[in-house]
Amino acid sequence: MGISQIITLIVAILLIGFILWWFFGKHQEAVGTATVDQGTQEANIVVKGGYSPSTVVLKQGVPAKVNFDMNDSTACLSHVVFEQLGVDKDLTKQKITTIDIPTDKKGTYNFACGMDMFHGKVVVK
């Protein structure tokens, strides 16, 4: 086993360790809140390689809109699906897609991309 092979082995082990830590370790997730203006509230979610923030908190009882700002041009994130609301929207038709969220009840609405690979949620409380 030559020097370069030993170095490769060490680098590979370090890389695997890094992947495990980076993807499976505990990491803080950002939580977004909505801006309330004249009796309505609005929250923005940027779509690029995922949803940021992936969790949005809304106030109960105030009519709410969630805007999806599409910044990703791959097919992966082209749709957003709110399972409980029966919403399946194509985000690529326009830059910003607005979805109305019912806020009459407390609860969590999960959303995901069309293939259910990316997840996020809207929490009403």
């Binding site: 590979a12 890389l15 390689g49 995922g50 749709h79 259910d116 690979m117």
Partner: protein, 642 residues
């Protein structure tokens, strides 16, 4: 610059042609002059316009500690591309074509999948398009055309032949035949007259009529159907939990497998650096979990839309999964197996006296049998008498004071307290064996007569039950009727088992009992008192003429009041679920077989996958899963209206 996937694909494809030529010329030992430079420049352009979006999306995901299929595409193309640049300047062999072709194939897969996804979701849009655009509404005594959204409840609307009924309502004037196939799936036009309900979006064929709007906007039947289908299409099937779990760990796991592949080849098997690298890149490229993610949603989308067109509304993916495990179907009798409009066929005893007493008492009751008795009395022009102290005897019948004596009308449960002559008893049994329900009429302390009422089975019930039995399902009828009557009807429609004498409140308990025996039970019913049974059963199938409550508690709603719908519902659910399983199987097999091949495990057998082929295979797997889902549109379903 905003380019669609399909445009990016074409640009990249054209740019990759020189490399394609070189690839085919290679076996003839022909080398394109200045190939390295041509490949470098074209690949760089392809990377910039086509691969860069994947890179940037992957990088953004990486910062969120998440990885996805873009990560795999990005890693695969970037490794091949940057290694080739390094190789070019250090005088080694270059692999620009790997980076370029993988990008081209991934784009092709994306573009085709997008197209098919649109096809699959189109079905719903077509349903919405069925709506009429405007309506002829009476305003100030004149009929004027107004846009649909201005129609209000209570408006009188005129519909001419060939026009669409704009909203739901009741005919107040005129008669016609209407094609309701778009809502019920029934291809035969239906005759409608004054007092009948009409449904928005159905087509008026030959008569002109006026009707009063009862439901508009999002309350109409079509809107409700669209809403239900939308929810079903975006719903989760429990089987997806598996893919959800896999998708979370899949990509990082693949990256690790790729690194291990590289290390094993390079460090332990002393393969050249570039060979090890190509194996690792192939692993990354073939592993894209696209097909896995598409398997369930696309099948669900096509299946639920198809079934909606046949008048079968499936609430969600969970129902589909339950249907495939069913072994027993339980039917409610009245209104489900039978027409639900009972008629008096025989009267035993003093015809006039018996009917007078019975009808006078039953006039106060809302029981379907009571309606039949009152109707018969009216037909025979029998004058009803005033009764006092009317009271219901729970589960048995009714009682009141008639002409100074206590009169009662009810089922054989009344006989517990009242005497009956042997002759009457024999008569009753004879009638019951003819599938007629016997109502006992008493005065004072004895039974003075019998009324036989028959509710005939629907014409399609027998065929539908035979179809279900052919599918290996056990069929059971559940009814509050007397066992003699129930058995006679059961025999007529060919049902396996009859559970008779069940009080309305006990229906759910009977279902529970069957479930405790280890059976997976579907319950088919319609009335309000069926709601608990509908929700207790593993699959609740609500018949269309049913009340709102029944529809709420059913997992499947049949728009048409016909048992053939049950067969269709079970068929399409099963087919959709099987398609999901097939899709998942292929998607998984693809990865489980593809990864070891790509890693060079079968090199000894001469079986390897270059990164380009891996890219093609990956694109093909997504497209094949979507195609397989679309094929659901073409499968045969029992009893479908041609």
């Amino acid at each position: 610059m905003k380019l669609s996937n399909i445009k990016r694909f074409w640009i990249s494809f054209i740019l990759s042609i020189p490399m394609l030529i070189q690839m085919f010329a290679m076996p003839f030992h022909w080398m394109m002059p200045g190939y390295n430079w041509i490949a470098f420049i074209t690949t760089t352009i392809i990377m910039a316009i086509s691969a860069a979006p994947y890179w940037s999306s992957a990088w953004a995901a990486f910062k969120h500690h998440s990885a996805n299929m873009n990560t795999l595409v990005a890693v695969g193309t970037a490794v091949a591309y940057f290694y080739s640049i390094f190789a070019m300047f250090t005088g080694h062999e270059v692999y620009f074509e790997s980076a370029a072709f993988v990008t081209v194939f991934v784009l092709l897969g994306d573009a085709m999948e997008e197209q098919m996804h649109n096809n699959a979701s189109n079905a719903l849009a077509k349903l919405i398009d069925l709506q009429a655009k405007d309506a002829e509404v009476e305003r100030n005594g004149e009929f004027v055309k107004v846009p649909l959204d201005q129609v209000k409840v209570g408006d009188i609307i005129r519909v001419k032949p060939g026009e669409k009924v704009p909203v739901d309502g009741v005919i107040v004037d005129g008669s016609t035949t209407i094609d309701e196939s778009m809502v019920t799936g029934e291809s035969m036009p239906v005759t409608k007259k004054k007092g009948d309900d009409v449904v928005g979006s159905t087509i008026n064929i030959n008569g002109t009529f006026n009707f009063k709007a009862t439901k508009v906007g999002s309350d109409t039947m079509l809107s409700q159907i669209v809403d239900l289908v939308k929810k079903a299409q975006t719903s989760h099937a429990p089987i997806q939990n598996l893919t959800d779990k896999i998708s979370n760990i899949f990509v990082p796991a693949v990256l690790i497998i790729a690194i291990i592949t590289f290390v094993i080849w390079y460090v332990f098997l002393n393969a050249p650096l570039v060979t090890a690298l190509l194996f690792a890149v192939s692993v990354v490229v073939i592993a894209c979990p696209c097909a896995l993610g598409l398997a369930t949603p696309t099948a669900l989308m096509v299946g639920t839309a198809r079934s909606a067109k046949m008048g079968v509304l499936i609430k969600n993916g969970e129902v589909l999964e339950e249907v495939s495990d069913l072994d027993t179907v339980v039917f409610d009798k009245t209104g489900t197996i039978t027409v639900g409009k009972p008629q008096v066929t025989d009267v035993v005893g003093d015809q006039n006296k018996v009917l007078t007493i019975a009808a006078s008492l039953e006039e106060n009751s809302e029981h379907p049998l009571a309606t039949a008795v009152v109707k018969k009395a009216k037909e025979d022009k029998i004058a009803l008498a005033q009764v006092k102290k009317f009271a219901a005897i729970e589960g048995k019948g009714v009682r009141a004071s008639y002409d100074g004596q206590t009169a009662f009308v009810g089922s054989d449960r009344l006989l517990e307290d009242i005497s009956i002559s042997q002759e009457m008893k024999d008569q009753a049994i004879k009638l019951q064996k003819e599938a007629k329900t016997v109502v006992y009429v008493g005065l004072g302390q004895e039974i003075i007569g019998l009324i036989a009422i028959q509710d005939v089975p629907k014409p399609s019930s027998k065929a539908a039950i035979a179809e279900l039995k052919k599918r290996g399902l056990k069929t059971i009828m559940l009814t509050g009727d007397n066992p003699n009557v129930a058995n006679a009807i059961g025999k007529e429609v060919g049902i396996d088992q009859v559970i008779a004498g069940v009080l309305p409140t006990e229906k759910a308990a009977e279902i529970k009992k069957l479930q405790d025996e280890g059976r997976k039970v579907a319950f088919v019913g319609d009335g309000i008192n069926d709601a608990p049974a509908l929700s207790t059963a593993d699959v609740g199938i609500a018949m269309g003429s049913g009340t709102d409550v029944a529809i709420e508690s059913g997992g499947i709603v049949l728009v048409q009041n016909d048992l053939m719908g049950v067969v269709r519902a079970l068929d399409i659910s099963k087919k959709t679920f099987n398609r999901i399983k097939l899709n998942l199987f292929w998607a998984l097999i693809y990865n489980t077989i593809g990864i070891p091949i790509a890693a060079g495990l079968f090199m000894g057998l001469g079986l390897t996958l270059s990164p380009e082929l891996a890219g093609l295979a990956m694109a093909f797997s997504s497209v094949s899963v979507v195609t397989s889902s679309l094929l659901l549109n073409k499968t045969k379903i029992a009893g479908e209206a041609a």
